[in-house]
């Protein structure tokens, strides 16, 4: 969690979307090759205001409102990255990412090896992530598993303003493509101290949210906050000592941190928002049991979305796991 490059003194309290915005600003000021492109990212500053002010500051050429064409956004960003630019492409909502899967699966992570190292694709694909903001269908999705199964790309998802800024700067400077998810529920609700200026948070390192001895809650994105609520209850009501690990980077996975924590507690609940079957939680559950079978005191439990289309928002709180569901699963795991 300590910045790679020492952070200037001046730290302020920012929310997550402000931290994202500041990271983009710092990156663009530092490196002329950095561009922002997507739908409504320019004059409008993005539908969540993540790119607010950048168009005024850096102009039409570096902050580009594109036509409404995601394949065009993704493909041209790949071409720009190959040309030596550092495009940060935004897909307006997680639910519209499937339209770029073709570019992502067939090309994004393959171009370096296909070109035998002659080409690289140093771009960032930003998108909001997850539910619970009372949005329409396709605006509350968690498609990370599709990306994590795809070789050659990195998948990052911060849950604090500090990590959002540091990881986005690291992603923009990363020589390989990074899919950067932003938990939209936390855009405004997550506030925290954020240093001004430039600093990075290492991609590939999980964040130990809190230490504990009896149970590991493994999570990412907005679910991290849900797990904090659940842990607080479990400690109060059950006297359990709960450790929380926020993966921050899904791929490449910080397997050492995961195995160390579960090796210590022997019990693990994985909480996430995606349809549970075939999710990234499946890979985690599999790895934990494959690599630490003898240290498991209870089966790993997965708490995720149901294997159905997420209902419209009146019922979304019954689809996405809440603290109650995490607590229920934790109790079963603790009493196994």
């Amino acid at each position: 969690m300590t910045p790679k490059t020492a952070a200037p003194a001046a730290t302020r309290t920012l929310n997550l979307v402000q931290a994202v915005n500041e990271a983009l600003d710092v990156a663009m000021a530092k490196d002329k090759r950095v561009m922002v492109l997507g739908e409504d990212v320019g004059r409008n500053g993005g539908v969540f205001r993540a790119t607010e002010g950048l168009w005024k500051k850096y102009g039409d050429e570096r902050v580009v409102d594109t036509p409404l064409a995601e394949i065009g956004i993704m493909g041209s960003a790949i071409g720009l990255a190959i040309s030596g630019f550092r495009p940060v492409a935004e897909i307006q909502f997680d639910g519209f990412m499937p339209s770029v899967f073709d570019q992502v699966v067939c090309h994004l992570g393959r171009i370096r090896s296909r070109s035998r190292g002659k080409m690289s694709v140093p771009l960032v694909l930003r998108a909001p992530h997850g539910g619970l903001i009372h949005a329409p269908e396709h605006h509350s999705e968690s498609p990370e598993a599709y990306f994590c199964h795809t070789p050659g790309i990195k998948v990052v998802i911060p849950s604090t303003p500090y990590d959002a800024k540091g990881l986005l700067l690291a992603a923009i400077e990363d020589p390989d493509p990074v899919v950067f998810f932003e938990p939209k529920l936390l855009y405004r609700s997550a506030k925290g101290e954020v240093p001004g200026g430039h600093y990075t948070v290492d991609i590939g390192k999980a964040r130990l949210v809190k230490e504990g001895k009896d149970l590991t809650l493994l999570t990412w994105g907005a679910m991290t906050v849900t797990c904090e609520k659940a842990a607080e209850r479990l400690e109060r009501e059950d006297g359990a000592s709960v450790e929380i690990l926020d993966l921050r980077t899904l791929a490449p996975l910080d397997l050492d941190a995961v195995l160390a924590s579960v090796g210590k507690t022997g019990r693990c609940v994985i909480a996430h928002e995606a349809p549970n079957t075939g999710s990234w939680a499946a890979e985690l559950s599999a790895l934990i049991a494959e690599r630490g079978l003898l240290r498991l005191l209870a089966p790993v439990a997965r708490v995720g979305g149901w294997d159905i289309r997420m209902p419209l928002f009146r019922l979304e709180q019954y689809y996405i796991p809440d603290a109650d569901r995490v607590v229920m699963a934790a109790r079963k795991t603790l009493s196994f």
Binding site: P67, A69, H134, W306, Y318
Partner: protein, 375 residues
Amino acid sequence: MPLKTIASLDIKRLEILDIDGKADKALMPKVSDKLLLEMYRLMFQIRAFDERAILLQRSGRLGTYPMITGQEATQCVPPLALKPSDWVVPTYRGGGVYFARGMQMRYGLLYWAGDDRGTHFPEGNNDMIFSIPVGTHLTQVAGLAWGQKLNGKGGVAMTYCGDGTSSKGDLHEALTFAGQFKLPAIYVIENNGWAISVPRKRQSASQTLAQKAWGYGVHGVQVDGNDALAVYAATVEAVARARKGEGATLIECETYRMGHHTTADDATRYRDGKDVEAWRKKDPISRFKKFLTAKKLWNDGKEKNLTAETRSWIDGEVKAYEEFPAPNPLNMFADNYDKAPRALIEQRAELEELLKFKGGAKILMELPPTEGRFP
């Protein structure tokens, strides 16, 4: 360099009613007084409905809502050229289209309140809920039109997409199929000048959107989308072409989004009030009212009655909407498969367990009855 011309095309634009409500006799389509009055009623009522919906949203009684203000002609008129058995697939900005198809607007409100039960169309109508990922319905509608063709009963399929959406590759593949298989399809591009904050001229360098049709062997035409008569005439012609097996039509309706993109948007961030004012002069409803008045089909008395009628209709719809009981959370498991697989049966039981954990054993009794088929 000089070379020989091997293909030529003119893109035509249809306008019938000028902004003072004068109709070009030569272009006037056949339309009964009754239908003219119906056009006016639909446009008038949906605008009033929109205004109420916005108030509901502002007062926290409705979720994010996409208003159609200014686009009433483009939305309410084309469905009038269709039969219930013809397919219609609007966009999320489709309140006027569904209304013209006879939908009870309480369901529209329910949908935008985040309730799946809002997806509810009149029995016997071939209506389909819009696709939120814009453009993804366009190839599906090619399939619906294909089905109509294979059924051989002269049915057609009509759909809408916005000017922004016209940039999606989906339109290209849909029109490729529509042209290649001579499908009875009508693609309406509702060009309202904006894709959220992106103006039409930054969306595509094409002079018109209608001319895109030419690249697919599809007939293309641009119409004044604020001119109910022009929209009607163009639609009637397209539907006739489709029913006769002469293929698909792309109709670009040039209109204007008078409001914000949705209630979640603030258009003042990116557009100049002057444009909006300029377009207000071209308002489809006032223009049409002048036309009806000149034709002696309309007067202040009738306007007063319609206004009153409309208010009570809206009151009724809002009341009906707000009287819907909260949905049973277990509903979400219904109708995902013809027969729910084992995993869903387990998961639904897990949700029941969660509900009990939250509300105690008797909670399941207290919840409203579940709806839909399960397993």
